[in-house]
């Protein structure tokens, strides 16, 4: 084949265009490299140093041998699971309701849902402390109204932690759920009704599977954020709810043990990654099963 006119010049311009595109993400890559890769690498390095400064796995060994570490991880996962579950229960109907509203009204309501995110986490957490404590607003009202006689232990325990965490996490689930539900063409539901499906079957056979990607995304976001929670359990848990992040803080603040703290961080990071991977596999298998059961 003979060379087409201007073939080289056109190839060169295509190359420049690609280069231009790559240069757009260069700053982001640089930032990620500096703030993520190097620190995380440093974390791994620190976790493998003994107190004397030699290479050793003693921190990991200790974590394995001391049951208190296992308990911390168990608490972390338990609290995260319960929080995520409550968030799903609360946000699914809410997101559905919002997705049925006219768009303008729904946008206003979404602002209300997102409003807490604009307030400092610390402020929100202490606000709950004020509300939930023994002589707090809720206990006072409850007793004055005669709903209960003795102050309830609403804070400095698991209950308080859960209340605070659910409050913080709710928007992260509502948002993806809402957008997934909004994207569902209501004609699918009309078609299902027309073909003979009552409200329950319309939901299970059509709405739920179509909104499932939003639910999975939101659940993963919330669960993973929960795993690394520090402030809320520390303030509202009153030392009774010790999660991994709190334990890391203790290791550093009380014992200046960077190695132990780093090892905890590494384990949490790896467990989280494993979990995301597993959840994504499960989600794929799940949706394949849903499809097969309906074909």
């Amino acid at each position: 084949m003979t060379a087409l006119p201007n073939a080289l010049a056109l190839q060169r311009s295509a190359r420049w265009e690609r280069l231009g595109m790559v240069s757009l993400i260069a700053p982001a890559l640089l930032v990620i490299g500096l703030t993520m890769l190097i620190p995380v690498g440093w974390l791994f390095y620190l976790s493998a140093l003994s107190d004397a400064g030699n290479f050793s796995l003693e921190h990991y060994q200790r974590m394995w041998e001391q049951p208190s570490y296992g308990r911390t991880f168990a608490t972390t996962f338990k609290v995260s699971l319960i929080t995520t579950f409550i968030c799903i229960l609360l946000s699914y109907p809410l997101a559905y309701f919002l997705s049925e509203l006219p768009k303008r009204v729904a946008t206003l309501c979404m602002v209300a849902v997102l409003l807490p995110l604009w307030t400092s986490l610390l402020v929100r957490t202490y606000a709950w402390l004020v509300l939930l404590q023994r002589k707090g607003l809720i206990n006072n009202w409850g007793i004055e109204l005669g709903l209960w006689d003795e102050p309830l232990a609403l804070v400095h325990n698991l209950t308080g932690t859960l209340v605070g965490m659910v409050h913080v996490m709710l928007p992260f689930l509502v948002l993806p759920l809402y957008s997934a539900m909004r994207a569902i063409d209501r004609d699918y539901l009309r078609a299902a009704a027309n073909l003979g499906a009552g409200p329950l079957r319309r939901f299970w056979l059509v709405f739920f599977p179509l909104a499932l990607p939003g639910l999975i995304t939101g659940t993963l976001i919330v669960f993973i954020l929960c795993l690394g929670f520090y402030v809320t359990p520390a303030v509202l848990g009153g030392g009774k709810v010790i999660m991994v992040a709190g334990r890391i803080a203790n290791d550093i603040e009380l014992f200046f043990n960077w190695g132990a703290a780093s090892a905890l961080g590494v384990v949490l990071l790896l467990l989280t990654m494993l979990l995301i991977f597993g959840a994504m596999r499960l989600a794929r298998i799940g949706s394949a099963l849903v499809n097969r059961s309906q074909s």
Binding site: R190, A191, L195, A197
Partner: protein, 364 residues
Amino acid sequence: MVSHSSLPITITQVTKTYGKVFALDHVDLHIKSGEFLTLLGPSGSGKTTLLTVLAGFTRPDGGSLKFGDKEMITVPPHKRELGMVFQNYALFPHMSVAANVAFPLKLRGIAGAESARRVERALEMVRLGGFGSRGVDQLSGGQRQRVALARAMVFEPRIMLMDEPLSALDKQLREHMQIELRQLHEQLGMTTVYVTHDQREALTMSDRIAVINGGRIMQIDTPRVIYERPANRFVAEFIGESTFVPVSVAAGQLTLGGQVLQTAEPLTGDGAHTMLLRPERLRVLGATQEAGPGFNLLQATLVNAVYQGDSSLLQVALADGTLVQVRSASNGLVDSSQLAAGQALRLALAVKDTVLLSDQGSPA
């Protein structure tokens, strides 16, 4: 699946308002068993609202809706046993083609081999046999349309609703599907209510057409009567090309620009009226050609001619200066390329096409 069972639909006084606007204004309509009825009208006319009332998706303010003898107006959509083809097909994206078609069967407790057999048969009817395992996103627009149709008829409903089912297809496919839908209807014989804003589609497919505007039925009749004897100006303008010419009636005779025209029947109602002229019903006569019996002869002057392939559209001025459009077939006796502006023309109009708009002094 060849079920010849179908149900008549009786709509009485059905009214739906949005604020102060009538979407449906006391609509009365009887659809015969097995009939193919088209609701035709411009967007916002209420035709889709009427269809969604039939399907149960829109709750009217009042009125009665009967399928056969059974009052349906308060029955929820999933208990109405209607087939429906949606404008955007509404095929479930998370299910295969077969699962989509099997969906109504599954809801009726039909599963396994029986379900598979009926699904395959429905798919064969729309000439998509063997497509069952495909995903919905692997289909072309025309194929999706057929799957939607198969899904709507697989459970053998006695009434079928279609909401502009062909509007998303290109012209050729649309015309092809019009014929196929019509054939399927003849094969299955279910009462069909079809919504469209495309007049040609309505004329091609329907047993009867209900022309709707402003939430009211303007006229309901066979395609031929709708086209040739439109009840009013709206129907005449909406369907086909038309020119309206002021005429007068005196002593049963029609006068256009001082010329008396023959009509099929004597006219009643003296005074000023409007006559409907369809461009293709006016024939340009050759120099030596006579109009012959059964035709009115009109003298005219050519204003301009536009070549449109299969025909030319001529604008001519009648003797009294009224501008009228004439469609001259390209294979006609008069070669439109030889016509020049200002040229005198003789036009023939069949007596049977010499009609007044019937809401203004009707010829019976």
